[in-house]
Symmetry: C2
Subunit: 243 residues, 2 copies
C-alpha cells in the first residue's frame, strides 16, 4: 500500500455503516497491525481529518467542515445552486425538493439542494449524496448531457454489472433531448417522482442536471406541467450564469 491510499483506506471506513471505529475494529477491517494504524490515525487526528471520541474510538474530524465550506464558497457551480434553488422551490405549486447534481468520475453526486417547507422525504436529496448512475430522472438527465462516446461507455460498464433495458433507456434520452425534460416515477424511491433537465458546461467539463423531486400523490397534471416549465427555465438560468 502506498501514498495517499494509506490514509484514504482508513477514511473510507468511516463512510460505511459505522461512523465510529475503534483501532481494534479498524485493524481487523483493514488487516493491519495496531502499531501501524495508531501511527496513521495519529497523523490524521493531528490534521483534524479524524477526531478522538472519548471511548477510545475515532470519527471523522472537523477538517471536512472547513474544506467543504471553502468548496461551497469558491465553486461557481455549487454557488449557482445556492442562488437559484431557493427561489425555484418557492415557485412550486406542490412541496418539492430541488437537487443540482453532476457527474464525478462514473458517479452522479448532488452538489446543492433546497426544499419547500412542506416537503418531507427520507430520501430527500442532499449535497454530498451519491446517486445511482442509471436510475431516476436525475442520472438520466446527466447521461443525456454527456458526449455520446462517454455516455455509451458508462452505459456499457453499468450494463455489465446489472441487467438494464438499453433500448428503453436510449428512447428516454432521445425524448429528453426532444422535449427538454424527463419524468420518472418510483425509480429511486417508490413514492417519489423526479422531473429533470440537463445542464452541460463543456468549457468546464461539467455534465449535470437539475431535478425536482415530489411525492407522486401530489402531482396533478397541472402541477406536472408547471414543474416541467420550472425545471427547464432554471436549468437554462444556471447554464447562463455559468458562462
Amino acid at each position: 500500500m502506498s501514498g495517499f491510499e494509506r490514509y484514504h483506506r482508513i477514511l473510507r471506513c468511516f463512510l460505511q455503516s459505522e461512523s465510529q471505529w475503534s483501532v481494534k475494529a479498524l485493524a481487523e477491517a483493514l488487516d493491519l497491525p495496531a502499531s501501524t494504524l495508531y501511527r496513521r490515525i495519529r497523523e490524521l487526528v493531528q490534521h483534524r481529518f479524524l477526531e478522538s471520541v472519548g471511548d477510545s474510538s475515532y470519527r471523522l474530524g472537523p477538517a471536512f467542515l472547513e474544506f467543504e465550506r471553502r468548496l461551497r464558497e469558491s465553486d461557481p457551480f455549487i454557488q449557482s445552486g445556492g442562488i437559484f434553488l431557493p427561489p425555484l422551490v418557492r415557485q412550486s405549486p406542490i412541496p418539492i425538493c430541488a437537487a443540482l447534481c453532476r457527474l464525478q468520475g462514473n458517479e452522479v453526486m448532488c452538489v446543492a439542494d433546497a426544499r419547500t417547507q412542506g416537503f418531507e422525504g427520507s430520501t430527500a436529496y442532499e449535497r454530498g449524496k451519491l446517486m445511482p448512475i442509471l436510475y431516476g430522472a436525475t442520472s438520466k438527465a446527466v447521461l443525456a448531457a454527456l458526449p455520446l462516446r462517454r455516455r455509451d461507455k458508462i452505459i456499457a460498464e453499468a450494463a455489465a454489472r446489472t441487467t438494464i433495458d438499453v433500448v428503453h433507456l436510449t428512447a428516454q434520452l432521445r425524448q429528453l433531448k426532444k422535449q427538454g425534460f424527463l419524468i420518472t416515477r418510483g425509480e429511486v424511491d417508490a413514492r417519489l417522482a423526479g422531473i429533470a433537465a440537463s445542464i452541460t458546461l463543456p468549457g468546464d467539463g461539467i455534465y449535470a442536471s437539475l431535478t425536482l423531486i415530489a411525492h407522486q400523490s401530489d402531482i396533478t397534471p397541472a402541477a406536472e406541467s408547471r414543474l416541467a416549465e420550472l425545471v427547464m427555465t432554471h436549468a437554462s438560468l444556471i447554464r447562463q450564469f455559468m458562462t
Copy 2:
C-alpha cells in the same frame, strides 16, 4: 516532509487566498519540483480530494462534500444544531443568526448555523467557519466552558501574540458564569452584537457555545432580554439532548 503532511500541505494551499492553483504556482509556493507535485496531485485527484479544472489548474474536489455529509449526519453535536437552531431563530423578535461553535484544538469553529429570513450579514457565521479565539461572545463563552488550566493556557498563548486586557476578560468570564450569558458588541463585526451561553459536555470532551448574532441597531432592551432567555434555554436543551 513525510506522511500525511505531504498531502495536507498541498490541500492547505486551497484554503488560502486562492481556490484554484496551477501546478507551477503550487511548485513555487511549496518549493517542490513539478514531477513530485504532479505525482501527489494525481493521487489526490484519483481520490477526489482535488479536481482538475480545464485550464491546467486544480481545485478542491467532491470528496469533501461526501465526507462532510457523513459527518453532518453522524455527529450528534452537529445534529443537535440541525434540530434546535431552526425553531430557536423562529422565536426571535428580531432578525438573528444562531451559531453553534466548539473548541477544536486551540481554535473555535462553527459547526452548525441557522438564520431568520430577514437576517442579512456578510459575516454571517456558517458551518465550517473558524472564529477568533479571544474576541466576541462566541469564543468567550467557549473559554468559560473550559477547565481553568486549559483556559489559562489558551489565554496565555494568545496574550503572547496580541495585547489583550486579561483583567477585563476574566471579569467577563466571571460575569458569564454568574448570569448565564454574555453580550458583546462590535468585537468581531462593528455593526453586530453577540449573545452567547456556554455548553460543556465533559463526557465527550466538547467545549462549546451557542450564540445569537444580531444587528446592534435592532437590539431593543426588550429584544435583548428575550434573546438572553432564548440562548440560555436552548443551550440547556442541547446540553440535555447530548447526555
